[in-house]
């Protein structure tokens, strides 16, 4: 920013970032996914706080790069990115609209309250098992193929009715 110019508002900046797509799932933005945690000014420096999804997600560094590029493109030079671990990122932060976007894109959205908690026996007995609807045909007659899918945040499922394989955005 140049001296004398008004600083953009928090909403302005969030609006810009709402246009930055997630590099792995471009149909949702980094704001939709809850990766951008806060936007604030420290004197005249814009501080954007982001949080990693899975700790080893390779998209994390690309996201930081794209957030920075999107803000610089608006003429802001004084910028700092901060990484915040706590509270840890959760799929609970993905809003209803973003979940609908995921579904239309062919990814079954997360089902809240079904995150792994290490209590294996209860899960194997069927308690807490997610009933995931096929994002293509809507059938609930589906099965988990593997709890680990094409990216760290997804599991591999298949539909037993339309027979299509699909990704499920697993709950964390």
């Amino acid at each position: 920013m140049h001296a004398g110019e008004t600083l953009p508002s928090r909403d302005d900046v969030m609006g810009w970032l709402a246009e930055v797509p997630d590099p792995e799932i471009p149909v949702v933005s980094v704001v939709d996914l809850g990766i951008v945690r806060d936007v604030a000014f420290d004197d005249d420096t814009l501080v954007v706080t982001i949080t990693p999804t899975y700790s080893g997600c390779p998209a994390t560094s690309v996201i930081a790069f794209e957030v920075e590029a999107a803000i610089r493109a608006r003429g802001i030079d004084k910028l700092r990115l901060e990484n915040k671990l706590s509270p840890p990122w959760s799929t609970d932060w993905i809003g209803p609209e973003a979940r609908e976007k995921l579904r239309r894109y062919g990814i079954a959205p997360p089902i809240d309250g079904t995150a792994a908690d290490g209590k294996r026996v209860a899960r194997l007995l069927g308690e807490g098992n997610a009933r995931v609807e096929c994002p293509r045909c809507g059938s609930a007659h589906t099965a988990e193929v593997s709890r680990f899918g094409s990216t760290p945040c997804k599991a591999a499922w298949r539909c037993n009715d339309c027979l299509e394989p699909f990704d499920y955005f697993k709950c964390i």
């Binding site: 080893g56 997600c57 706590s86 509270p87 290490g118 294996r120 964390i172």
Partner: protein, 250 residues
């Protein structure tokens, strides 16, 4: 070196070496889904390593980054459990090693997330424990399926258990550093994790129709930097690029 720095190295070296070992499966697993699951597990572990080794460098206060610690230490400076440097062997041996580790790792992270008096330790654990829960559920599930599977898969899993068993006792030994950490409320007394581990292992192995070995001998030394011959070979592969091309950048 402070006890906090040692602790972060122990946690981070476990996830680094196991993450590297598991990543060796990429492109070699028996089925595509398991190949992907192994690669994802490795990714989680390497991601957790960045947090732990980042904290270790910070606690050390000499300006070393997580990368410096991963790539520029020799075997005797590594603090991982001997279990995680064990060779991959067959798929069953890899899964059994993962299960024996996960059954310690998940409760350990749970304790740290809920109780650690060091805020950075608690925050890292709170992040990592959610991933470790998926690892534990997957490895228990597969140990049961393979143990209670065909005659051959059962035999291989029982052999795998015997192969790794004497490397599990090290998880529960305590030295002066552990006592300092426990007194400060940063980490639990390692021995306090044993009853929960025994119970979980017993429950899963019973369901897997596998018998718990009776041998209580324990190989030790990894947490003090005394390693098996396998670690040097891992480091030779893992550290080659940054040592040969120190200025290399992505």
């Amino acid at each position: 070196m402070s006890a906090l720095c040692e602790f972060a190295l122990r946690m981070g070296d476990n996830t680094l070496i196991l993450g590297h070992r598991v990543s060796e499966w990429c492109g070699h697993a028996p089925v595509l889904e398991e190949d992907i699951a192994l690669a994802n597990t490795a990714l989680d572990l390497i991601g957790q390593t960045q947090m732990w080794l980042g904290l270790a460098g910070e606690a050390e206060g000499e300006g070393r980054t997580a990368d410096d610690l991963a790539y520029k230490r020799d075997a005797w400076d590594f603090r991982n459990l001997l279990l995680v440097e064990r060779p991959n062997g067959d798929f069953g041996q890899t899964l059994m090693r993962q299960f024996l580790f996960d059954a310690w790792h998940h409760p350990m992270l749970t304790w740290l997330a809920e109780n650690s008096k060091d805020q950075r330790v608690a925050e890292i654990a709170e992040k990592a424990v959610r991933e470790a829960a998926y690892h534990l559920e997957r490895s228990s599930d597969l140990v049961i399926r393979l143990g209670d599977g065909t005659d051959e898969s059962h035999r291989r899993m029982q052999d795998a258990l015997a192969y790794h068993w004497t490397y599990t006792g090290e998880m529960f030994e305590a030295d002066a550093i552990d006592r300092e950490l426990a007194d400060a409320g940063i980490a639990p007394d390692p021995a306090a994790m044993k009853p929960g581990w025994d119970a979980l292992i017993g429950e899963v192995l019973a369901e897997a129709t596998l018998s718990v070995p009776e041998n209580d001998f324990a190989h030790k030394g990894g947490r003090r930097g005394q390693h098996t011959e396998h670690l040097g070979h891992i480091l030779a592969a893992m550290q080659f690029l940054p040592r040969a091309y120190p200025d290399a950048r992505w």
